[in-house]
């Protein structure tokens, strides 16, 4: 769902005007999505400076490729994909170790953490938890759990095996769970 426009123009109007080089409309579009997109970049980046670089580069791509947006899906989704793709560009392939998934990986026990604990976790807590993950885990967890990419899509975008994607996700979940359990113990 598109955020409310700063003026009476629709999102479509702003896109069309931006395509004609209208700087004000470009600024309006930027203002509509910048906060969300910076948050996306922050989840993929290792630190704030890197997130801002990704964000900047991503938005420049958005405006330079605006004519390629045909209105098939939501504009926000299109912008988000550009941001993610831009963020992924800087990810080293070494971050993903091609490990097969053992039996123990499937026996995840995410019921150790009570729902109350999850509900008490703030956004900042969650972001910190994600940012503490190893890069490969963080990227795959972000893409699969939060953005909704499939393992096949992840493997194509990151140029890794599907099994690697699965493995990284399982390990990311396990690590997050362990950390949340630790938080739970501290809280008790």
């Amino acid at each position: 769902m598109s955020p409310l426009k700063p003026n009476s123009l629709t999102e479509r109007d702003l896109i069309e005007r931006s395509l004609k080089g209208d700087r004000v409309s470009q600024r309006d579009l930027f203002d509509m999505y910048s906060a969300k997109m910076l948050a996306v970049c922050q989840r993929y980046a290792r630190h704030t400076a890197e997130a801002e670089d990704m964000f900047q580069e991503g938005f420049i791509k958005v405006f330079k490729n605006l004519s390629k947006y045909k209105g098939d899906g939501s504009f926000e989704g299109w912008v988000r994909r550009i941001m993610i793709n831009t963020s992924l560009k800087n990810i080293s392939k070494k971050s993903f170790k091609n490990e097969s998934i053992g039996l123990e990986d499937h026996q995840e026990k995410d019921n150790k953490v009570s729902p109350e604990v999850f509900s008490k976790l703030s956004v900042d807590d969650l972001i910190k938890l994600i940012n503490d993950l190893p890069e490969g885990y963080r990227i795959v967890f972000n893409m699969y759990a939060i953005e909704g990419y499939s393992h096949k899509e992840i493997s194509e975008l990151l140029k890794i095996e599907v099994s690697t994607s699965r493995s990284q996700l399982v390990k990311a979940r396990r690590m997050l769970q362990r950390k949340i359990e630790d938080l739970q113990k501290i809280a008790v």
Partner: protein, 241 residues
């Protein structure tokens, strides 16, 4: 989806971050750069188009100039000089006649070491009974479809196949058959050799005829400007266009 995934998605998917104030200021110049490049390309394309137009205009103008030069010749077509070559050994004589029109004679004529008189409205009568065979001809005529621009003796452009009467710039001795005309204004000095133009009329009975000189001439009288040129050798070879 695992419960842990859902917790993260619900809280983080629509999460926002505080955007630094100057972030847009860092992005906008990159967009300006794009516009700037577009403007530069626009101007470059415009300049290129102008250059092309200029070249085309120059080309067309030069074609028109050639036509203009050749134009008056068409008027003189009726009084084009008849050039004849009289072998020296036979003491050939040339008679002038008051006839206004040129007289077209053989398509193949003979020039050896001799005096050649070129005059408008000339009629040449060879008194010599001796005449060389065509096999020894030093001037040959070849039909041309059309002739259309300035040509140097060494460079004959295929473009001359099209257009109006031609203007041939010949830097060495040259003699032509019917339809040729030499203008005084075209005389000039170049490396000690007299340079003149011979215009070939392409509309007469001998239309499209171009002479090819293959033997040396000693004298080339050019009555059009009251001058007789002496040439020991004639090396100009005009080929059929």
């Amino acid at each position: 989806m695992k419960h842990i995934d859902k917790v993260f998605k619900d809280k983080l998917f629509y999460q926002s971050a505080e955007v630094p104030e100057d972030m847009w200021d860092k992005i906008a110049p990159a967009l300006e750069e794009k516009s700037g490049r577009a403007i530069i390309w626009f101007w470059l394309a415009g300049i290129f188009a102008l250059l092309l137009g200029g070249l085309a205009y120059t080309y067309i103008s030069s074609s028109d100039t050639d036509s203009t030069i050749a134009g008056p010749l068409a008027k003189n077509m009726a009084t084009m000089p008849t050039i004849s070559n009289t072998p020296k050994e036979t003491n050939a004589q040339i008679e002038q006649t008051p006839e206004p029109t040129s007289e077209i004679q053989n398509k193949t004529q003979v020039v050896t070491k001799e005096n050649v008189v070129v005059k408008p409205t000339q009629k040449v009568t060879k008194k010599s009974s001796k005449r060389e065979t065509p096999a020894k001809s030093i001037i040959e005529t070849k039909p041309l479809k059309t002739i259309g621009s300035t040509v140097s003796s060494s460079q004959v452009s295929p473009e001359l196949k099209y257009g109006k009467p031609a203007n041939l710039v010949i830097t060495k001795s040259y003699i032509s058959d019917k339809g040729s005309f030499i203008e005084k204004s075209e005389l000039g000095e170049k490396k000690g050799e007299i340079e003149y133009n011979v215009f070939i009329n392409s509309e007469g009975l001998n239309a499209g005829t171009l002479m090819r000189v293959v033997e040396p001439l000693e004298y080339i009288p050019l009555p059009a400007f009251q001058k007789s040129l002496k040439k020991k050798t004639l090396t100009t070879h005009l080929t059929h266009l």
